[in-house]
Symmetry: C2
Subunit: 468 residues, 2 copies
């Protein structure tokens, strides 16, 4: 394919995507296929001779689309949102075209530099403390990661290295293995499983801190565990606070937790994967209060800030904590670096989105989603068969029938099997709960009302089937 | 931006990329900017109000392009290639448009299934042993990673878990920390720094095995170290063999190393990040002989197989080795998974590239690059002031002036400062060596001849400046 054919095919592909979005509300949000469906539809091996673009594009509609869960359908209310916007798509085309690999400044100066400046822009949008910004000569700064899980892992490992060095400098007789076996990290019992996995990878103990009745970790709960663990000879080194937990979007109490971590020399990492985007609105910024006590902060613009996957923003107060934990041989890295996982020109899509929406446009987008979740919350409140299961702060509503877990499971099953809308559940303590997350960029009050009518109708059928 | 504006802007962007490639040979391959150049050119913070696409695109040419290292310029001979092809770009547009997140089957069935089948296609193209393929019911199979570094880390961690469980089952009195402190992994002294970093992350000892005069690890060298380490009470658990090392594209001797690893229950991982693509050509497949002894194998189609970044292919003989090392709570992951780093629809670009090039087209592409590197090798051979520093097997030529390191460093500096072509150096033992890698999709004999004339001329000036 030469550039003139690329011009033609590229434009056809742009039209295909535009058509896809124009008709997305007519596609069934969740597919009908069974596991293994695809292998039967395509050959066992790659063709020897080239095939045409037309044939490939035809197969997209025939083979791929029937197996796609349409994350951007206005009837998709599952998981959390994943971002999709046209400015980000345009930037991704540009990034793919330039195709540079940004593992060092020399490998692609613009790539390295735009990333630093974009993370300063975004940090300012959130009103992050100055210490987290790179500015012209700051010690802090931001870097793009692929996911919040990666950010948790990277910071846990940096904290591990820092604590090992600290303990060794005070107790030169201790081996690294001795210290490792006594290190302990903490997170809420509501925290994402990636925190536990980070501990598993890093070979350190991870303990859950019990959350309170609002699913938030309080200072008192952390204090209690720290007291016990210090008494048992363990070395607490890392606490991952969550702002906007995955099950119900609850918020750990940073203002209580932060001073404890600082006093006890525990690295506090703040994971706001989903909720972080909302902090660009002054009325939600209070949820981030206490971040000034943190060593690192992360959230995913690729969830709720219209910057397409992948773009997870991580800031640290001391960049040197990260570089000294991972850098091995800078001279070698500078010259013959194979690849570092540090990747394509991801900051371009931040630049395009921030400029083409403007801060005001992004704030409006967040507010629209929060308004829609409250609209759904009110509908649930008005139906006395249902209950709200956790405070609705941002774009997620946790609710259930005032009935057994079995009945709620059956309700969810019937909702998803009808294929009109798509939801996923969670467990809150012993309760099976339905999660309704405002996800799509194009979701409107109409879709929320439709979703509620549908859920409510199926709820009646549940009651009926129960009574029989 | 609505879909109708996206149609317009998307097509403009396609033309911008096509123009970029049409004129790429006229752009200076390496930029003139100094560190910090970009911050001065853009505002300190994001705009409040939206800006137009025209303004943003204008700034791409004004702010971004002057700081880009043009990896796809036919005058770029640095590092290793990074793939760029039009079919992959088209697939990326589609992948971005669909914008699904494939962390579980249900989250996007087509995404999960196409990935498995594409890795079977690719495995067959390489003639990988059947055990590495998923087929319909196999225990093995492939998965896409972001980089070879990630693949090394993932397999090292899986091997670590497997060995800890094995040792604990035989010695229940040992704690995990006891075992961890005795684990040791190995790689060539020529291996990529990411292997050492994987050990650092996993908290295990990593040792270098000395390579021979062809920069290859032999069985005898591994045996010697194993003998010493067993005697010292260590537990060898992982050996990372490299096919196509970063400095000079040398090949560890799998046929000698594999049986040793199998006998000693050491996980053998084969990292062929760059070289792996060549194994689709029957005449280079011998370089992969011995992979049948490996537990896992990885290479980067995003380097040399025209599948744009990121697409690193990892196969294991037992998928359960990976899943049991990382899976924590499948029920939770299935429902409320936040994100796993497991990402977008990357298999689409494999599908597009394999079909639109065909196996024959891809083989031709590899052969063209290898032919060009031998062409360069011959030019170097014909000039008695220069020497070849390592056997030329694929697309990389390591060479230098028969002179001091200082003079070779000065030569490289003058080459890169002239901005006509771009190279990076490496060290082979005590020697400073220039690396000439065939990288661009559009590089032809003409560009190689031009590069050599330029290098040779600067070499003369070096001699001259030395004589003065």
């Amino acid at each position: 394919m030469d550039t003139s054919e690329f011009r033609k095919r590229g434009k056809e592909m742009v039209d295909y995507i535009a058509d896809y979005y124009d008709q997305l509300d007519t596609r069934q949000v969740y597919p009908d296929v069974e596991p293994g469906y695809l292998r039967h539809l395509i050959p066992d091996s790659a063709p020897q001779e080239p095939e045409s673009f037309e044939d490939v594009l035809k197969d997209v509609e025939r083979i791929i689309m029937p197996g796609v869960t349409h994350w951007h359908s206005p009837y998709f209310f599952a998981y959390f949102p994943t971002a999709s916007s046209f400015p980000a798509l345009l930037a991704d085309v540009l990034s793919g075209g330039i195709g540079c690999i940004g593992f060092s400044w020399a490998a692609s100066p613009a790539c390295t530099e735009l990333e630093t400046v974009m993370l300063d822009w975004l940090g300012k949008m959130l009103n992050l403390p100055e210490e987290f910004l790179a500015g012209r000569n700051g010690e802090g700064g931001g870097v793009i990661q692929g996911s919040a899980s990666e950010a948790t892992l990277v910071t846990l490992l940096a904290a591990r290295t820092k604590m090992i060095r600290r303990v060794q400098s005070e107790n030169p007789e201790l081996t690294e293995a001795d210290i490792m076996s006594r290190l302990v990290a903490y997170a809420s019992d509501q925290a994402h499983s990636s925190v536990e996995r980070a501990g598993l990878i890093g070979g350190v103990m991870i303990k859950n801190i019990p959350s309170d009745d609002k699913f938030a970790v309080r200072g008192s709960a952390l204090k209690k565990v720290l007291h016990e663990d210090r008494a048992a000879g363990l070395i607490p080194f890392f606490f991952c606070a969550t702002l906007g937990t995955t099950p119900c979007c609850s918020f750990d109490r940073l203002l209580e937790l932060g001073p404890i971590c600082n006093r006890e020399t525990i690295w506090m990492h703040v994971d706001a994967a989903y909720a972080g985007s909302a902090f660009i609105c002054p009325e939600f910024r209070y949820l981030l209060n206490g971040v000034e006590f943190a060593d690192s902060f992360n959230f995913n613009p690729h969830k709720w800030l219209l910057v397409n996957f992948d773009c997870s923003a991580l800031w640290v107060k001391k960049r040197s904590d990260l570089t000294s934990a991972f850098k091995l041989d800078p001279l070698y890295l500078q010259h013959c670096h194979q690849d570092s996982g540090n990747s394509s020109f991801r900051s371009l899509k931040m630049w395009f989105v921030f400029r083409m929406y403007g801060i005001k446009g992004l704030q409006e987008y967040i507010r629209k989603h929060v308004k829609l979740s409250h609209e759904f919350e009110n509908l649930v409140h008005q139906d006395e068969r249902f209950e709200i299961c956790a405070e609705v702060t941002l774009g997620l509503v946790c609710f259930r029938l005032k009935a057994s877990n079995e009945l709620n499971e059956a309700l969810l099953k019937s909702i998803n099997e009808s294929r009109k809308i798509h939801l996923v559940p969670c467990h809150l303590r012993e309760k099976f709960v339905l999660r309704f997350a405002i996800c799509s960029r194009t979701v409107e009050s109409f879709h929320v009302q439709f979703a509620w009518k549908h859920i409510s109708k199926l709820g009646v059928l549940m009651d009926f089937s129960l009574c029989r």
